[in-house]
Amino acid sequence: MTKQLLKGNEAFAEAAIRAGCEGFFGYPITPSTEFLEHMARRMPELGRAYVQAESEVAAINMVYGAACTGKRVMTASSSPGVSLMMEGISYIAGTEVPAVVVNIMRGGPGLGNIAPSQGDYNQMVKGGGHGDYFPIVLAPASVQEAVDQIALAFELAEKYRCMVHVVADGNMGQMMEPAELPPMRELPKDAPDWAVRGAKDRDPNILTSIYIDPVDEEITNIRLLKRWMEIEKNEVRYTEQNMEDAEFAVIGFGTSGRVASSAIKIARQEGIKVGLLRPITLAPFPKKRVEEISKQVQRILVVEMNTGMMLDDVQAIVQGRVPVEFYGRLGGITPLPDEILDEIHRVVKNTDKVNGNAREQWLSRLEKIVEGGKQ
């Protein structure tokens, strides 16, 4: 099949349909609205379920219900809307039914703005809902990657009966890029044995997140944690650029990783031995690989569109073996390749072997940039 020039949100939505999504429940919010609008067009055509819910709270609970039937279902939203889904997400995780949530992140906190951001990293990765649960988090950096990951998201959700988040920023949702869509997956005839579809010729199925006796809840928590450790073993994904001989590493996900790749291209032309690690699974995080890298390179630069959320995770893994530095833009600003190239130049020159406070040092640099009015 040939490539089409597709707008991110529409490509993601169509990819979900091709992957066999039988129910979409959502509420409009910029910059993810085209996702819902595409579903509004296509799902009725295909005789599949589409509901514009009254709110994100309702949307996630519709997803929760539909997920209990064992069909592939999902929602898509953006930061504030996703915050409203936290209770429902925790319920879905606690009930161990598969569901997919797409978050096209925007500037925050609060209403903030509708520009691209990665400020929901902690919320999506560390669990913004209550209790111990472990979502898988995928972070695409191109329309094609997103298209592929949405199918993957459904597979992983079903395989592990867990929540899968796909997080992208507003750039990804709004940009157009050529991408190839998968063929239409034919819908499975029969239901998983745990699904509720009516207790015909079998005992009733009950799906709940209550374990009123702490002993049972503890057993459940253990089951979820062991499943997560399985996931950590099997499902780590990342891509790299020029890491083979790299003496310096840049680590960034999604758009910031992609922007970094441009900067690295130029740096390589300048002869700088720098490479890129772009985590695709933010959870499970590529811990082993980061550890290896921290033993290979002299210095690591983490690039994000937030105040350094992934930075904390990288530092925790690197454990001071090499200095870790940080560069981030905030509030909906996407860093440009030249900024990151400047950072690479700086990092390469920086021979100071002690591991300072990366965040504080970055902040004082950023303030100068902001005063300088450079966006």
């Binding site: 039988e22 129910g23 429940f25 379920a49 509901v51 819910a53 009254e54 709110s55 709270v57 309702a58 949307a59 609970n61 519709m62 997803v63 929760y64 219900g65 539909a66 997920a67 209990c68 039937t69 069909k71 279902v73 209770e87 429902g88 319920y91 009930t95 509720v196 579809r197 009516g198 207790a199 015909k200 010729d201 009733p204 199925n205 009950i206 799906l207 709940t208 997140s209 209550i210």
Partner: protein
């Protein structure tokens, strides 16, 4: 003339053998039994999917002998919507308390009705938050003392009882909306007829259906089981008049 025993009444098949955790005399039990009888009589058990709320009936799935899910507090109608939309042929119903449906879940019930969602809702109005120990509900009567209205519900500060049957009757998407009571045998029989009509509304694709049932909470009302039923008759019915609030004409024939 030959004489043999004939069974006049026994437990419906749609109830499991489990004993309930409900307090003695709590009419949640009656409501369960009526729903189970209707599902038996209509032969819907094998295609029914129930949605339990958060409230004293949170464990309803242990008592109904059919597929069940357990919703987040107040979100049962949204969860039921999700199920019904992907399984339109199944019978989907929620069972909700008044805190669940009229307070935290009012948005979900209003919009399920507005969409004409083809689900049935059993709404247990006991004018109190039972499970959490007797706090004020939107349905608590004016002046009624609860643990969160210790001086009696002050309508100036806490407003008047919310009348869901009347409100939902405004929704064009609603096919059948009724209020009944569980306080005596006569009314229990009427309640069962209404529940039956609600499920028929769904089976005939006539849209959203809800039966509000005035129900007792002897424990938090601090009354004996029988006195609690009297309280329904004497105190609640005047505030929550019984009757049909919306009936799709098709249901009449």
């Amino acid at each position: 003339m030959n004489i043999k025993a004939k069974t006049v009444y026994q437990r419906p098949e749609s109830l499991t053998d489990a004993t309930t955790h409900y307090c003695p005399g709590c009419t949640h039990g009656v409501a369960h039994r009526l729903v189970a009888e209707v599902i038996d009589e209509m032969g819907l058990r094998e295609k029914s999917i129930g949605v339990a709320p958060v409230g004293c009936s949170v464990f309803a799935y242990n008592y109904f002998n059919m597929d069940f899910v357990e919703a987040a507090h107040g979100r049962a109608p949204a969860m039921a919507t999700g199920i019904k939309r992907v399984l339109p042929k199944n019978t989907v119903f929620t069972y909700q308390g008044d805190g669940d449906l009229a307070s935290i879940g009012i948005a979900e019930i209003m919009h399920a009705a507005a969409r004409g969602e083809n689900i049935s809702v059993i709404f247990i109005n006991n004018a109190i938050y039972g499970m959490t120990g007797g706090q004020m509900a939107p349905t608590t009567l004016p002046g009624m003392k609860t643990t969160s209205s210790p001086y009696g519900r002050d309508v100036e500060l806490a407003g008047f009882p919310v009348k869901m049957a009347e409100i939902l009757a405004n929704m064009e998407g609603a096919g059948y909306i009724a209020r009944r009571s569980l306080h005596d045998v006569k009314h229990i029989r009427k309640a069962k007829k209404a529940i039956r009509l609600a499920f028929e509304t769904q089976e005939r694709g006539l849209g959203f259906s809800m039966v509000e049932l005035l129900s007792s909470c002897p424990t938090n009302w601090k009354l004996s089981a029988q006195k609690a039923l009297d309280f329904i008759a004497e105190q609640m019915i005047p505030v929550f008049p019984l009757g049909d609030y919306k009936v799709n004409p098709e249901l009449e024939n």
